[in-house]
C-alpha cells in the first residue's frame, strides 16, 4: 500500500486580490517522495504550497491521509504540514536551538527550555540532520546566510511532519550549500516524508526529485519523472528555453541552455 496517496488535491482554485492564481489544480502525491514544483515566476508555485498548508483560502478539496484539510484544527494541520517559507526571516536575535525547538510548537512544546524527552530528541535529530549542532547556541542574526538556511531547515525537520513544504530553500545559497540542503531534504523523503520543494533550479530538481510538477499560469501542465515532465516541448512552451540533456550516474541531467 505504499502507493496510497498521502496528499490529494482536487479542483484547487485560489483567487488573490481578484486574480485567479491557481486554476483547477488536481494532484495526488505519495509519502517517501521528493517532489519538485517548478515553473516560471508568477506561475503560482508559492500559492500552491500555501494552499496545501492551509495558509490561503482555496476552493476545491485537499485531503491529507484521507482527512479533509478544512476539518483539521490549526494545530493538527501544523503537525501534518511543516512549512518552510522563503527568506528564513527571524525578527529577534534568538539562539539557533530555540528556533529549531519552535518546530515542536505544534506538538505542544511551547517552551524551548522545558522540552519533554520526545521533543528534545526530535530537536536533536533535526539539528544533526541539518548539521547545525556546532552553532546551536549562537544567535541566528549572527549566522551567515548558509548557516541560517540550515537552521530554518532544522526547524522544519523538527516538526517530524509527514509532509514538508519548502519554498525555494536553496535560492541564494552557494552550490555546496544547495547540495547540502537538497541532500537533507532527500534524506527526509527516504525516511518516509513527502517533501515538496519549490525551486527554479531545474538541474537540481532533475537530480534529486522523484517527481516533477510543472506549473504555468496557475495550471498544472506537466508531471512525472524529470526527463518526461521537463520534456523539450515543456521547456519550450513553459520556460521558453532549450536545454542540454544528458544522463550522468543514471540521473537525468538538465542544463538550461538558450532562450527561444
Amino acid at each position: 500500500m505504499t502507493d496510497l496517496a498521502l496528499v490529494t488535491a482536487r479542483g484547487l482554485d485560489v483567487k488573490l486580490a481578484g486574480r485567479r492564481v491557481l486554476r483547477d489544480v488536481s494532484l495526488s502525491l505519495s509519502s517517501g517522495h521528493l517532489v519538485a514544483l517548478v515553473g516560471p515566476n508568477g506561475a503560482g508555485k508559492t500559492t500552491l504550497l500555501r494552499a496545501l498548508a492551509g495558509l490561503v483560502p482555496s476552493d476545491g478539496t485537499i485531503h491529507v491521509r484521507g482527512d479533509a484539510l478544512s476539518s483539521l484544527s490549526l494545530r493538527e494541520r501544523a503537525r501534518r504540514f511543516a512549512y518552510l517559507p522563503q527568506g528564513h526571516l527571524v525578527h529577534w536575535p534568538l539562539p539557533a536551538r530555540d528556533i529549531v525547538a519552535l518546530g515542536r510548537y505544534p506538538h505542544g512544546a511551547t517552551d524551548p527550555a522545558r522540552l519533554t524527552a520526545t521533543d528534545a530528541e526530535a530537536v536533536l535529530r533535526a539539528m544533526q540532520a541539518a548539521d547545525v549542532m556546532e552553532f546551536s547556541e549562537r544567535r541566528v542574526t549572527e549566522l551567515s546566510g548558509g548557516e541560517r538556511s540550515r537552521v530554518a531547515l532544522a526547524r522544519v525537520l523538527a516538526v517530524e511532519a509527514p509532509v514538508i513544504l519548502a519554498d525555494e530553500p536553496i535560492s541564494s545559497l552557494d552550490p555546496r550549500h544547495q547540495l547540502d540542503v537538497m541532500k537533507t531534504l532527500r534524506a527526509a523523503a527516504d525516511r518516509g516524508a513527502l517533501v515538496i520543494v519549490v525551486t527554479h533550479d531545474l538541474g537540481l530538481a532533475a537530480r534529486f526529485a522523484d517527481n516533477v510538477l510543472v506549473l504555468s499560469d496557475g495550471r498544472l501542465v506537466s508531471q512525472g519523472a524529470a526527463a518526461e515532465a521537463l520534456s523539450e516541448q515543456v521547456m519550450a512552451e513553459v520556460f521558453r528555453i532549450s536545454a542540454y540533456r544528458a544522463e550522468y550516474q543514471r540521473e537525468a541531467v538538465i542544463v538550461p541552455w538558450a532562450e527561444i
Partner: protein, 347 residues
C-alpha cells in the same frame, strides 16, 4: 553529542533568568516598603510593616493603610500593566519601538476622561471618570478593528492606530480649547500630566479588575509571541491563530491601559523602556520578556512616584512628567547602545 549536552546551555540561561526575576521581585518589594514610608510623615520600613498589620499609632495606620497603600497598589499595578503592554506590543509587532500608545488606546482613554471633566459631569475623583476612559479606550479599539478590517496586516493597524491617537489628541485639545472655565482647563491640564496623588481604594477597585483582565488576556497568549518571531505566516503554519492573537493582544492592552489611564492620567515611556531594560539580562525572546518587563514597569513607576514625593519643589511634580523627562533621554541612550543589535535584529 547527547541531549544533555545540547540542553546544558539552556539550563544555564534559565538559571540566570530565574535570578534576574528574583532580584526584580526583591527590588519591587523594597520599593513598595519605601513608597509606604515616604511622604510628609516619614516612616521607617519597620513601622510601615507594623502599621500595615494593625500595629503602631492610629495616625500611622491611617497614613499607611488609607493614604499610601492605594497609591502604592496603583503604582505597582499600573507600572506592571504598562511594562507588560509594552513587551506584548513589541512582541506582536516584532518591533522594539512599539508601545501601547501606538494603537491610540491611552490617548482615547484620556479623551474620554477629559470630556467628562469638561462637561462638569464629574470631578477628578468620581467614578464617572474611569468609566468614561475605559469606554473611550474600547471605542478606539473597536474603531481600529472596524477601520483596519479583521484580517488587516500590521502596516494598516499601525496607520489606523496613528490616525486614532492623533484624533483623540486633537479632540482633547478641542475640548480644552472650547472650555470657557479656566479652572476646568487647568484641572484637565494637570490631570493629563499623570499622577498617583490622593488616590483612594475607590480608584484601586475601579482600575484593578480591568488591569487584571487585560494582563490575563496578554499572558494567555504568551507562547505565541515566540512563534511570531518567525513572522506571521510561519507562526500560522506552526498552529498559531494569528488573527485571534492580534485581537486578544489589542483588546488586552486597551482594557488594561484604559483602566490605568483612567485613574492615573497619562504616564508615558514606561511601556517602551521596560522591555529594553530587560533585553540585556533576559535575552530577546519576546515570551520571556513579558513578566520581567511587568516587574520592571512596577519598579520604574514606584521609583518615579517615590521621587516626586522627595524632590523639594514649590508645586507638586507630576509623576507622568517625571517618567517622560527621565524616560526619553534614557531611551535615546538605549537606542544608541543597542543600535547594532537593533538593526541586526531584523535580519
Amino acid at each position: 553529542m547527547s541531549i544533555q549536552n545540547v540542553m546544558a546551555p539552556a539550563d544555564i540561561a534559565a538559571r540566570r533568568r530565574a535570578s534576574v526575576m528574583a532580584a526584580l521581585v526583591i527590588v519591587v518589594v523594597l520599593l513598595v516598603l519605601l513608597s509606604l514610608g515616604v511622604g510628609p510623615v516619614r516612616l521607617s520600613p519597620v513601622s510601615v510593616i507594623d502599621a500595615l498589620f494593625g500595629g503602631g499609632s492610629d495616625v500611622q495606620q491611617v497614613i499607611v493603610r488609607e493614604i499610601r497603600l492605594p497609591r502604592t497598589i496603583l503604582g505597582l499595578a499600573i507600572g506592571a500593566m504598562l511594562g507588560l503592554s509594552g513587551a506584548a506590543m513589541q512582541g506582536l509587532l516584532r518591533n522594539p519601538l512599539a508601545a501601547p500608545e501606538l494603537f491610540g488606546a491611552p490617548q482615547s482613554a484620556a479623551f474620554g476622561a477629559v470630556l467628562v471633566i469638561a462637561f462638569g459631569l464629574a470631578d477628578v475623583r468620581s467614578y464617572a471618570l474611569p468609566v468614561a476612559a475605559i469606554i473611550a479606550a474600547f471605542a478606539s479599539v473597536f474603531a481600529l478593528l472596524a477601520i483596519a478590517g479583521r484580517n488587516a496586516g500590521l502596516l494598516i493597524l499601525i496607520l489606523a492606530g496613528l490616525a486614532i491617537s492623533s484624533l483623540a489628541g486633537a479632540a482633547t485639545a478641542l475640548v480644552m480649547n472650547l472650555s470657557s472655565n479656566p479652572f476646568v482647563v487647568l484641572e484637565i491640564a494637570f490631570w493629563l500630566l499623570g499622577s498617583l496623588e490622593d488616590r483612594s481604594f475607590r480608584h484601586v477597585m475601579l482600575a484593578l479588575p480591568f488591569i487584571v483582565a487585560g494582563a490575563v488576556m496578554l499572558l494567555s497568549q504568551r507562547h505565541a509571541f515566540r512563534a511570531l518571531s518567525l513572522g506571521e505566516e510561519t507562526a500560522q503554519s506552526l498552529g498559531v491563530d494569528v488573527g485571534r492573537l492580534r485581537l486578544l493582544v489589542i483588546s488586552g492592552v486597551a482594557l488594561g491601559v484604559g483602566g490605568a489611564v483612567a485613574v492615573s492620567g497619562s504616564i508615558g515611556f514606561i511601556g517602551l523602556v521596560a522591555p529594553h531594560l530587560m533585553r540585556p539580562l533576559i535575552g530577546h525572546d519576546p515570551t520571556r520578556l513579558l513578566v520581567p518587563s511587568a516587574l520592571t514597569g512596577s519598579a520604574l513607576l514606584l521609583a518615579a512616584d517615590i521621587a516626586v514625593r522627595m524632590i523639594p519643589s514649590t508645586s507638586d511634580i507630576k509623576v507622568g512628567v517625571l517618567t517622560s523627562i527621565i524616560g526619553v533621554p534614557f531611551f535615546l541612550y538605549l537606542i544608541m547602545r543597542e543600535r547594532r543589535a537593533l538593526s541586526g535584529g531584523v535580519a
